[in-house]
């Protein structure tokens, strides 16, 4: 049932843009559909490869580059211990994000993703990078919410970071639970600009709420 549902969505997405770039919409739709089945860093790398290939074909589209960076940030979080590898994945993601910053300078999603990248950098070595990167994360999230105050991914990352630093400094992260619950409750009220636009994050928001119980 689930598979046929996904197929339907993919077809719908493909159809929406069918008149102009059928292959682009089909490829993007298929690739976005694969997110759910990615389990390992290798899966995300393969998916990242897909997006990079799409980006090569569609020079004006920013979304494939966005998802390419997103996959590599996830890979960094999934890598268990090798700090050098984590940073090398993030170097790839950072390159894509730099490209996006000039391509779509007013896009809140890009700055939210940038905050996620900096979070991943921080996680590699919180002791040494804490100060520098928590500031950068704050700046990126500030820009994201200035551009789009209701962006749920910017909110999500903010809560995640607040909880993380509360943990690090021995405070109670539960003080942010209210915000997490509100975020999850209002998740569906935010409509992405198109079916290809970023929509991820609900799972993580659910996880935050679960951790509060």
């Amino acid at each position: 049932m689930k598979t046929s549902f996904i197929t339907l969505i993919i077809t719908l997405i493909a159809l929406t843009g069918f008149s102009q770039k059928p292959e682009y919409y089909q490829a993007m739709g298929e690739s976005l559909g694969q997110y759910a089945s990615c389990k390992t860093p290798e899966d995300f790398q393969a998916l990242g490869n897909r997006f990079s290939m799409i980006a090569n074909n569609e020079k004006e589209e920013w979304l494939p580059i966005y998802y390419h960076a997103h996959c590599y940030i996830i890979m960094s979080f999934m890598e268990p211990s090798d700090a050098k590898k984590k940073d090398s994945y993030l170097d790839v993601a950072e390159k894509s994000l730099k490209q996006l910053e000039t391509m779509v300078p007013g896009e809140a999603e890009v700055f939210a993703l940038q905050a996620m990248l900096y979070t991943a950098r921080l996680v590699v070595n919180p002791m040494e990078r804490g100060q520098q990167y928590s500031m950068l994360i704050g700046q990126s999230l500030g820009r994201a919410s200035a551009l789009d105050p209701s962006n749920p991914r910017a909110k999500l990352l903010k809560i995640q970071n607040n909880m993380g630093s509360a943990n690090h400094f021995g405070k109670d992260p539960k003080e942010f639970c209210g915000q997490a619950t509100d975020l999850l409750a209002g998740w569906e009220t935010y409509t992405p600009k198109s079916q290809l636009h970023p929509a991820w994050g609900k799972d993580q928001a659910e996880e935050l709420v679960r951790s509060c119980r």
Binding site: T11, Q45, N56, Q131, G170
Partner: protein
């Protein structure tokens, strides 16, 4: 229904087109299979990724001539023309590693680099500050690294058998003429600079680049912070005095102003002292730091500081057998500026300059001894990345130094002074033969107007990476330095002193653990000899001295084995002898310890919001000369040991409490003996033990940072 039909339509198209299967394996050149390589037909959506065995296979509807692309991070892209006819294509693809300096081999012989950028660093900027026994002193923290010897009665850097004056300190490329604060004879000094001014540190204990001259043993390169990120006010209250620093930003610039006042009187009232202080050390200083971005790539930095300090203590005059007052007043002005900009795509230019005016006024038993130093350094460098594998650097320098010493007794005044201008030029090339092998070849020429002599110094380093985690480095070079001020004020009939370095080093770094070993030999020649006690007669000086230093350094750092814990162990073995100054023969110098050990441990207690540090320092006995003994430098000092602890507590995110205690177990510390100038009536020189100012040192501090957001903290300031 329409949707369904269209979907069918897609399938139909797929079915009727001719299909070609493209399959194969992706390998790294000289290495195994590559997993996750991106394989696709250029300009199409047909492609796949390689699996764990490097294998791949995909179908395409396209026909005719197409380009197959294979891409993987860290490897050069591969492109191949394929003709799609419906027959399966099977390929064996080998990717070539791309050259990237970031993960290429680096020269590590003799060098400790501290910065936050790279994972491979042996120590970081934060370590410089959080080392327990260092109490916030850059030089103190460096003394926990191998190749250094802790000399308790000096506090200065002594590197690989070299005297402290053989080490030079540079800030943003410009020479610091007076890196240490002025202290009484036989008491430990500290650095003048706050460690959190610096974003990066390179400490080279030998074999350094041709860019650096006028140092026989080591160079310490301190790089100041770039642009601050927000307006803030830092208030620190230490047990020795308060400090206030304010930072203000504007468009492309920022200014930080710092005021510091230290007075040890209240502290000394509480903590027992070994010296008889008539006036406890008191100092006031003001500093300004300016940052301005210019154009797209330019950055101008300016730092200026003014210091005024004084103290007075009573010391026993062993010759006259009475207590005499020793008073010192020091005024120091230091200006450092640097400008760095890209000239065009390939050329980068950096200019740095520093100016120091330092005056020590000492009065001792009614005699007045004044020393004034004016120093200037200007350096211009250009560098060009000729291509990704070759970098050229070159430049010129002008060192100016003017020293005046006056000695005034009741009866007489003696004034001696000298001015010297040293001009230098250097050039070097760094050449990567591959990702695994790099050489740096350079040379340096210096001319001194006062000595009227020119020297030439070749330098060569190479590094060879065995595999991802380990590498060998070697360094060789000639190093020159002008003789000490104390000789040059009497004569210019001297030549440069010289040391030749031979260093071989091995480093292995793997996920949070680093091991370094280094063996070295230093060959000293042309050291200044003083052939009589009549120091003011210029004929008694010559360059007939010589010496050697050989040793083994070990460094082990482990950030991984203990959760939230981090430790390093440094050990140095040193074998050295020299015949210089007034030494009658080749002898072990007084500043050499055969065995040196430092163990540093830090632990983060998340629930307590605290960073705790503990370190242990050990130096084996050194020699000192007893004029009552026939044999030169034949007496031994006590073993030096210190166990220091520190505790930093993050009360709020912007308020930190800090406590540190040195020498907690109260190890007896004694640095040899000093002797009277003249023998007594019994023909013997009288002596007394050289001891530290106090057996323990306590620091208590509160650090507060105020910003508009109020969350910034001084965590990186924890000392």
């Amino acid at each position: 229904m329409r949707v369904y039909l269209l979907f069918l339509f897609f399938l139909l198209i797929k079915a009727i087109s001719a299909q070609t299967i493209i399959s194969g394996t992706v390998n790294a050149q000289n290495d195994g299979a590559l997993t996750g390589a991106n394989i696709y037909l250029k300009g199409t959506y047909d492609g796949t990724s390689s699996d764990v065995n490097g294998r791949f296979s995909f179908k395409t509807q396209k026909s005719g001539n197409n380009t197959l692309m294979v891409e993987f991070i860290g490897y050069e892209s591969f492109a191949k023309e394929v003709n799609l006819t419906g027959t399966e294509i099977n390929l064996l693809i080998e990717l070539k590693e791309t050259f990237s300096r970031l993960d290429a081999v680096t020269i590590t012989a003799g060098t400790f680099e501290a910065g936050d950028k790279k994972q491979a660093n042996t120590i970081t900027s934060l370590d410089m500050i959080t080392t327990a026994g260092a109490a916030g002193d850059v030089f103190g923290a460096l003394q926990t690294l191998p190749g250094t010897t802790t000399i308790g009665e000096s506090g200065r850097l002594f590197v690989k058998g070299g005297d402290s004056e053989e080490s030079q300190t540079y800030i943003d490329g410009a020479l610091v003429h007076t890196p240490y604060i002025s202290t009484a004879p036989n008491t430990a000094t500290r650095g003048r600079f706050n460690p959190f001014m610096f974003k990066g540190t390179i400490f080279s204990t030998g074999g350094y680049s041709a860019e650096y001259g006028q140092a026989l043993s080591s160079v310490l390169l301190l790089n100041t912070n770039d642009m601050p990120t927000q307006d803030q006010l830092d208030i620190s209250v230490l047990s020795v005095g308060p400090e206030v620093a304010g930072t203000k930003l504007w468009g492309k610039g920022a200014i930080t102003a710092t005021l510091t006042y230290n007075n040890l009187q209240p502290y000394m009232n509480l903590v027992p002292q070994n010296f008889e202080w008539k006036k406890a050390p008191e100092s006031a200083s003001a500093a300004i730091s300016l940052r301005q971005k210019t154009g797209k790539t330019g950055m101008l930095k300016l730092y200026a500081s003014f210091d005024d300090g004084k103290f007075k203590l009573a010391q026993e005059d062993l010759t006259q057998e009475k207590m005499v007052d020793f008073a010192l007043g020091n005024r120091n002005m230091f200006i450092n500026t640097s400008y760095r900009t890209a000239l065009n795509k390939n050329w980068v230019a950096a200019t740095s300059a520093s100016f120091t005016a330092d005056a020590d006024d000492v009065s001792f038993d009614g005699n007045q001894f004044d020393k004034a130093l004016k120093g200037f350094h200007l350096k211009q460098t250009v560098s060009n990345e000729l291509n990704e594998k070759v970098t050229f650097r070159g430049g010129g320098e002008w060192f100016s130094r003017s020293v005046e010493q006056s000695y005034q007794t009741v009866a007489d005044t003696f004034v001696n002074q000298y001015d010297n201008n040293t001009f230098a030029a250097f050039a070097e090339a760094e050449i990567y033969a591959s990702k695994r092998f790099v050489t740096r070849v350079g040379a340096r020429v210096e001319h001194s107007s006062y000595l009227k002599k020119t020297n030439f110094a070749p330098r060569l380093t190479a590094a060879w990476k065995l595999n991802e985690t380990s590498q060998f480095s070697m360094a060789w070079g000639w190093f020159h330095q002008n003789p000490n001020d104390d000789f040059l004020i009497y004569t210019n009939k001297l030549d440069y002193e010289r040391a030749d370095h031979y260093i071989l080093s091995y480093q292995s770094a793997k996920s949070g653990r680093t091991l370094r070993t280094e063996v070295y030999l230093k060959d000293y020649r042309n050291l200044v000899k003083q052939n009589s006690n009549e120091f003011f007669v210029h004929e008694i000086y010559n360059n007939a001295g010589s010496g050697f230093a050989a040793g083994l350094d070990l460094f082990w750092r482990d950030k991984k084995s203990i959760k939230n814990g981090d430790y390093w162990i440094s050990y140095s073995y040193l074998d050295t002898k020299r015949d210089y100054r007034n030494y009658p023969e080749l002898a072990v110098p007084t500043f050499a310890s055969k065995h040196n050990l430092a163990v540093v441990y830090k632990h983060w207690f998340g629930e307590l919001r605290s960073l705790a540090g503990i370190n242990y320092i050990y130096s084996s006995p050194r020699v000192y000369n007893n004029p009552n003994s026939e044999k030169f430098n034949s007496e031994k000092t006590l073993t030096y040991q210190s166990l220091d602890v520190s505790w930093s507590f993050l009360y709020r995110q912007n308020i930190i409490f800090y406590v540190a205690v040195t020498n907690v177990p109260g190890f007896k510390q004694e640095f040899g003996r000093r002797f009277s100038d003249q023998p007594g009536q019994d023909g013997l020189f009288k002596s007394s033990a050289i001891v530290p100012g106090s057996n323990r040192f306590y620091v208590i501090a509160i650090l507060i940072t105020l910003t508009q957001k109020g969350i910034e903290n001084q965590l990186d300031k924890i000392q």
